[in-house]
């Protein structure tokens, strides 16, 4: 229970269901208190959020515990986030949190400490057991679908997972919360990354890894220097703002090169690609459907997915060729594969080979 409306209603639905299942509320403490002066009222991880989650648990008459995952979150999510920038890539902290914290640490420790059989979350996704295996399906509310962050789950995890909100829309969830007079009913959506106050991740690079940023060249596709950046790790592929380059048309970050501290820019059409490699691929079924298959691929949350041809080129590597160019596949971001409503799996977009 994050203290937000979604997990509150998920808990309420399970608690109302009754039956033999006992519901236990857990709030995970992911990081220490922020320095005085920061107010993260919209974050899911502030002490205020713990208060909200506890109040909901009290109203639902379920036991409530705080699970401390600070060490794991620090290493697996925050450090990985920072290292991703230092690697010239775009981090994916919500997916890392799902993979390592919610469906690994919480599942593992929750099963042991609370004697639980499964973990339920407020994610918008559906599960179905068909033809001998669990399938991860897109949420009924296409606008809220969160399978983009859940592709990492394997059969064992899916078997121990519940998504009570999968067939509901967000307005329905809010209406239920209001009807149950849950204190979280009217909480605004959390937008920022929970451990980055005010969205300023640069301070975090310095704090965790001593990276203060070293100015370097911004070059165009021909290698001509067109400006100066504040440090390569402050830029991500697809970024448009903050480049300080005036070339008479919109330009975007096309590539970030850590080795030479260089940021390469390009015009809109130069950013789009049809072919890109994916590393660290995993499949919800445990294996790809075949060595070469068609799928639709999504390369960022809430972007439309596009038809593509997928070719396995190793145990956990694949190449994606989209029918039409996709805009700015960013190294480090997830490429998630679907067959219809089913999420087949995915992987991390790799840097283009030089």
């Amino acid at each position: 229970m994050s203290g937000g409306v979604d997990s509150s209603v998920a808990a309420a639905l399970l608690a109302q269901e009754g039956g033999d299942d006992e519901v236990i509320g857990v709030w995970m403490r992911t990081h220490g208190d922020l320095p005085e002066g920061y107010e993260l009222s919209r974050s899911c991880c502030s002490p205020d959020a713990a208060d909200d989650a506890r109040r909901v648990a009290q109203l639902l008459k379920i036991p409530f515990f705080i699970l401390n995952v600070e060490r794991e979150f620090g290493a697996r999510v925050i450090d990985a986030f920072v290292d991703s920038y230092l690697d010239g890539a775009t981090p994916n902290p919500c997916q890392a949190c799902n993979q390592y914290i919610k469906f690994d640490e919480l599942l593992r420790r929750g099963l042991a400490a609370y004697g639980a059989d499964a973990v339920a979350t407020g994610h918008y996704a559906r599960l179905e057991h068909r033809d001998g295996r669990w399938r991860l399906l897109r949420a009924a509310d296409a606008d809220k679908d969160q399978t983009y962050f859940l592709w990492v789950l394997d059969q064992e995890q899916l078997a121990r997972t519940r998504f009570p909100l999968g067939s509901l829309t967000k307005p329905e969830v809010r209406a239920m919360a209001a009807e149950l007079t849950l204190p979280t009913a009217h909480k605004p959506e959390s937008q920022e990354i929970c451990f980055v106050p005010l969205g300023d991740y640069r301070a975090l690079l310095e704090e965790r890894r001593g990276y203060a940023g070293d100015p370097g060249p911004i070059v165009d596709a021909d290698g001509t220097r067109v400006g100066t950046h504040t440090g390569y790790a402050h830029y991500t592929v697809g970024q448009r703002h903050g480049l300080g380059v005036a070339l008479g048309e919109a330009v975007y970050v096309r590539e970030v090169q850590p080795a030479t501290n260089t940021v390469v820019i390009g015009r809109r059409e130069e950013i789009a690609q049809r072919t890109f490699s994916v590393h660290g691929a995993r499949f919800t079924a445990g294996a790809p459907p075949s060595e070469r298959f068609t799928a639709s691929v999504r390369i960022r949350h809430r972007a439309p997915d596009v038809p593509a041809e997928v070719t396995m080129v190793g145990r956990d590597r694949l190449v994606v060729e989209t029918d039409d160019p996709v805009w700015a596949p960013a190294p480090g971001q997830a490429a998630v594969l679907y067959a219809g409503d089913e999420c087949l799996g995915g992987g991390r977009i790799a840097r283009a080979e030089a």
Binding site: I24, W27, R29, G32, P47, A50, P63, F65, I66, L67, N68, E70, R71, A75, R108, R109, L111, A112, A113, Y114, G115, G280
Partner: protein, 382 residues
């Protein structure tokens, strides 16, 4: 019905205590400072409560200041005495295993320029009186050492420390919140200047405590306002609380607890389990306190697991928002940080039965087996 083994956190309210309080929550609603009959009735209850507590500890009634609890008593003693003596010196000595109410009061003093000496402790959590003697300088205006640890139960040599302070003419404060259930604090035997007490640790209500302050001690109030408590603590007095507190103190006196045999049975059973180690002193410890560290588990996870088995325990330190920091007490005792994460504190009450002890040992055994089995393989970083 859950097995309650967290009496160091708080103890169940005794029925006699509730009876003593009820009239002052219902018909006798007066303010003790009022002139009229209702006020006088409340005043009488307050005076009688103060007398009862004073008499139990061998003090004069005027030496007892009611507070909102143990933490406020600690704050009043540490900051109040240090500030009052600051013209003579700005040095305070305390131990590294005190309650946070003392340690954070000292931290506040440090921010205001006071020098604080934190006495080290031995592996059992005990303070060496010789260290106190060595730390005192001519600028020292307060020594504060608890009578027994809330976390590991270790009893401190407060009488010896008190003798040293007396000889060196330094005020001596004792936080006796945790030990008072097992024998009233003794200002004279301890040669203490001030002693903190709390009602709810001995069957009294939450929200009331007291500070014994030896007559003639200079101390600045921390709560300013009216002239209540001889100008040492402003605010309308908690009359019902005081009546309940006095009753609890009297009952603790009249009906001493004999829980040590049960506690020994518990410790014997726990330390027989693999990877379970006693913390605190094996002999000089509070009779109801069993504290251990357990290899390969998180204390918080174990406490949650035990709760779901119907056993109410503690990791030993307050962790209201699940802070990950291991106990400062265990670290000060030289216990390895990894091991300190696996702390468990079980504190018995007069109602604890042998059957409950046996069930608890079996449940701890089962839970730590489950928790250890789930631990991930070492280092599996991608």
């Amino acid at each position: 019905m859950a097995i309650y083994l967290d009496h160091a956190a708080t103890s169940p309210l005794l029925p006699e205590v509730l009876d003593a309080m009820l009239p002052y929550l219902t018909e006798h609603h007066g303010n003790p400072s009022s002139i009229h009959a209702s006020g006088r009735r409340a005043r009488q209850a307050l005076d009688e409560a103060r007398e009862e507590i004073a008499s139990a500890i061998g003090a004069k009634p005027r030496e007892v200041v009611f507070t909102s609890g143990g933490s406020e008593a600690d704050n009043l003693a540490v900051k109040g005495i240090a500030w009052a003596g600051s013209a003579r010196g700005r040095h305070v000595i305390t131990s590294s295993v005190e309650h946070k109410a003392v340690l954070n009061s000292c931290a506040m003093l440090a921010r205001q320029g006071f020098e604080i000496t934190y006495l080290r402790v031995d592996r059992s959590g005990g303070v060496d009186p010789a260290d106190v003697a060595a730390a005192i300088t001519d600028r020292t205006t307060l020594v504060s050492v608890m009578s027994a640890s809330n976390e590991v139960g270790t009893v401190q040599p407060v009488a010896e420390i008190g003798a040293i302070c007396r000889e060196r003419k330094v005020p001596f404060h004792v936080d006796a919140v945790q030990s008072a259930a097992f024998g009233p604090p003794t200002p004279d035997a301890w040669q203490a200047t001030a002693i903190s007490l709390s009602a709810h640790k001995l069957g009294g209500p939450k929200g009331i405590g007291a500070l014994y302050v030896r007559q003639g001690t200079a101390m600045l109030p921390q709560v300013h306002g009216g002239a209540q408590e001889r100008q040492r603590r402003a605010g309308t007095e908690n009359v019902a609380g005081a009546a309940g507190f006095a009753t609890a103190v009297r009952l603790a006196h009249e009906r001493p607890m004999s829980v040590a045999p049960q506690r020994d049975r518990l410790l014997e059973g726990l330390t027989a389990l693999p990877g379970v180690h006693l913390t605190g002193d094996p002999v000089d410890r509070l009779p109801n306190s069993a504290s251990v560290v357990i290899e390969g588990i998180e204390g918080g996870d174990l406490v949650a697991a035990l709760d779901l088995e119907g056993i109410e325990a503690s990791t030993g330190s307050a962790c209201t928002t699940g802070s990950v920091d291991p106990s400062h007490v265990l670290l000060a005792m030289g216990i390895d940080e990894g091991l300190a994460h696996g702390s468990l504190r079980l504190t018995l009450g007069r109602e604890t039965t042998e059957a409950e002890i046996d069930r608890t040992i079996a449940a701890v055994d089962a839970c730590i087996g489950r928790l250890r089995a789930s631990a991930p393989d070492m280092v599996a970083t991608a």
